[in-house]
Amino acid sequence: MIQGIISILIILLLAPMFAGLVNKLKAIFTGRIGAPTIQPYYDLKRLLRKETINADSSSFISAISPVINFVSVVIAAAMLPIGLARPVISFEGDIILFAYVLGLARFFQILAAMDIGSSFEGMGAARETTFAVFAEPIFFFTLGSIAFMSGLTSIYDIYHSIRLDNVTYIIFIIVCSTSAFILAVTECSRMPVDDPNTHLELTMIHEVMILDNSGIDLFLYQYSSYIKLFIYAILETSFFYPFGVKSYTVGIIIFVVVIAVLSITLAVVETITSRFKMKNIPQYLLFATAIGILNLLIYTFTK
C-alpha cells in the first residue's frame, strides 16, 4: 500500500518534469539551449496566480469540466503500478475502468470546448473526437491482448503475468511498445499527429480546445495533460519489467531507464519527423491497431 501511495505521488510530482525533459532534449537536438527542465512547474505556478475567466456564452459545463478532467486523470494514474508495486486502485476488471476514466476526461473536455461556442474550439472538438475513435482500439488490442492471453483483467496482474520464458514474449514486447508509443503520441497530442509547439490555431487538435481557458481552469487542463503523457510513458515502461528480477528496487531502476529512453525517443521523433496531413492520421492509427491484432495472432498460432 505504501508503495502504491509512493507510485501515485511520483506520478503527480514528476509528470511536469517529464514534459519539461522532452522539451529540453528537443531544444538541444535542434541546437538551442531551451527552457529549463522544470519550466512546466513555473508555468503551472504562474497559471495559479491568474484570474479565471469564462466566456459569457458558456454554461456550467465549462465550469465543471476542468475539475472532472483532472480528477479522472488522477484516478487513472492511481491504477498504474510503478516498479511492479500494487497500485492504490486495483481490482479485477480495472483495465476497463482505466480506459474509460480517461475517456470520461476526454468527453468532458470536448463538451467544454463545444460549450464555449467559438468556431476554433468546435473544430478542435471535431478533430479530437474523430481521432479518439481510432485511438481506442489501439489500447484494447495492446493491453487487451495481454489480458486475453493471461486471462486476467487487472492492470497490476496483467503486468505480473508477463514472463520472459517464451520467445513470443520478446516479439510481444516489440509489438506492444510500438503500438503503445503510437497511442501515447496520439492521446497526448505529440508529433507526428499534433504539434505541441505550434501557435497556429487552424492546425491544432488538442491545444485549440483550451484556447479560451485561463487561470485555474487552464492549470487543471495543463496539469492533467502532463499527467496523461506520464501515464502513457508508464504504460510503456511496464512491458519491460520482466527483464528485472522481482524486486522493487530493480523495478524502479528499470522504470527510470525506460522513462529516460522514452523521453529521448520522443524528442528525436519530434525533431526529425514532420506532421501528417490531417486526413492521413486515421491510417497511422489503424496501423497501430493492426499490429495490436498481430499480437493476438502470434499468440493464437504459437499456443
Binding site: D195, L202, T203, T271, S274, K277
Partner: protein, 492 residues
Amino acid sequence: MISLQVQNNQPFRIDEIPFLNKSDFVDSVSEGLSNGFRMIGLFPADKNVTHKIISLLIDPDFSSIHITGGEFPKDKLEFESFANQYPQTNYFECELAENYGYEPIGHPWLRPVRKQNIILGNKPYQFYKLEGDEVHEVAVGPIHAGVIEPGHFRFQCHGELVYHLEINLGYQHRGVEAMMLDTKNNQRVVLSESITGDTVIGHTYAHCSVIESLTDTQISLRAQVIRSVAEEFERIAMHLSGLGGVANDVGLAIVSSSYGRLRTLVINSLALLCGSRFGRGLFIYGGVRFDFNDENVKQIISNLEIVRKDVSAINKFLFSSTGALTRFENTGIVNKDIAQQIGLVGMAARSSGIETDARINYPYGAYRYFPVSLITLPSGDVFARARLRALEIDESLRFIFEQMENLSDGEIKSDVGSANPRSGIVSIVEGWRGEIVHIAFTDSEGKIIQYKIKDPSFNNWYGLSLALRKTAISDFPLCNKSFDLSYAGHDL
C-alpha cells in the same frame, strides 16, 4: 492600343501621355489587356486632378511599359469594369474606387482594399458567405496567436475543406504614399526602407531609382553592383527564412532551426558591408554609402562558402523527407492558367510556371550587364514554391560570388541634381517576393505630386485565397507561409 511606351527607369514628360475620352480609354486598355499585358497601376497622375487617370500596362515580351491616360467628366467618375474579362484588374479598380471615388460599372466584387468602413456602391461591404446547414465559418484575426502582422481571414468550410477564403487587410495602413509627397528629400530613403521590414533593399532600390531617373543621375557600375549584391543578400536571407518557416509549419524542427542558423550568417554578412543586418542605411540617392574592401569581402566570401555547403545538405534532407513531401505536394495549387488570369507576380508566379522576373524582363542596374537565370517550376503547389526558393538561393549565391570576384573600380556615389519638371518615371525592381513598382510624377517645379507603390503582395494575396480552395483548413498556415506575403507592403 494608343499609349506612351517607355522602358523601366526611363523618364518621360507627362505631356507625352495621351489622354483619351472614356470610351477610347476603355477600348485602348482592353486592347492592351487582350494582348496579354499585365496591369501595374491605375490612378490619377496628379493626386489633386482626380478626373484624369492613367493606366499602366507592362509587356513582358518587349520589356515595355504602356501608359494610357483617360479623362473623365468631373461629375461622372465611372467606367465599364475590365475585371469581368480580366480578373487581374479587379483589385486595381477597387483601389481606384476606394481612393478617388470612381465607380467601375459591373465590377464583379467591389470590396475595400485598405479602409474598413468605406462605403462602396452605396452599401456597406458584406463578407462573402456560404449558405447551408453544415457550412462552418471560421474567422481568424486580425489579432493572431503568433507575433505576426494583423490581417483578417474568413474561411467558409464544409468540415475540414475550405470552399472560400476571404482576406481582409488594411490594419497596417500608415499612409506611406502620402508621406512620400510631404517628406523632405533625405528622409524619403528612410521612409522607403520602412515600407515593409522584410524587403528593405528591394523597396529602397526602387525608390532610389525613381529619384535618380527623375534627376538624370548616372550611377557608377561599382555602386550598381553593390546594390545588386545587397539585393541578392536579401533574397537569400528571406528565402532561407521562408524555407525555415515552411519546415516549421510541418513540424520539422531540425530543418527549421538549421535554416535559421544560416540566415543569421547571411544577414551578418550584409551587416559587415553596411552595419545593418537588414541593409538599412546602405542606399543613398546617387549610389551607396558603404563600399567593399579586401577585409569585408574576404569575411563575406568565407561566410557564404559555409552557407553554400550547408544549404545543399539541408535542402537534400528536406526535399527527400517523405513526410515533408507528402505535406508539400498537391497542397495549395494555383495552376498556370489561373495564375496568369489573376496576374500573380514574383516567385509565386514562377512556381506556377509563368516566366516572369523583373531582373530579366525589365533589366535594371547591374542586371543589364550581368544577367541571372530565370527559374520556373510547373506544379504551382507548396512544393514548387518551396523548391523554387531553394533553387533561387543557389542562383543568388552564384551571382554574388561572380560579382565579388570581379568588382569594378570607381566612385560609389554621384551627385544628385534637382528633379525634372512635369516628368514621370516607372521603376520596377524584383524584390525577393516579386515585382516591386514605384511610380512618381513631378509638377512644373520638380516637386513630387504623385507617388505610387505596388508591392508584390498587392497582386499575390488573391493567389493565396484561390490556393486554399478545396484544400484542408489545417493546411492554411503552410500555404500562407509558402506565399510568404507582406501585410505592411499591401497596406502601405
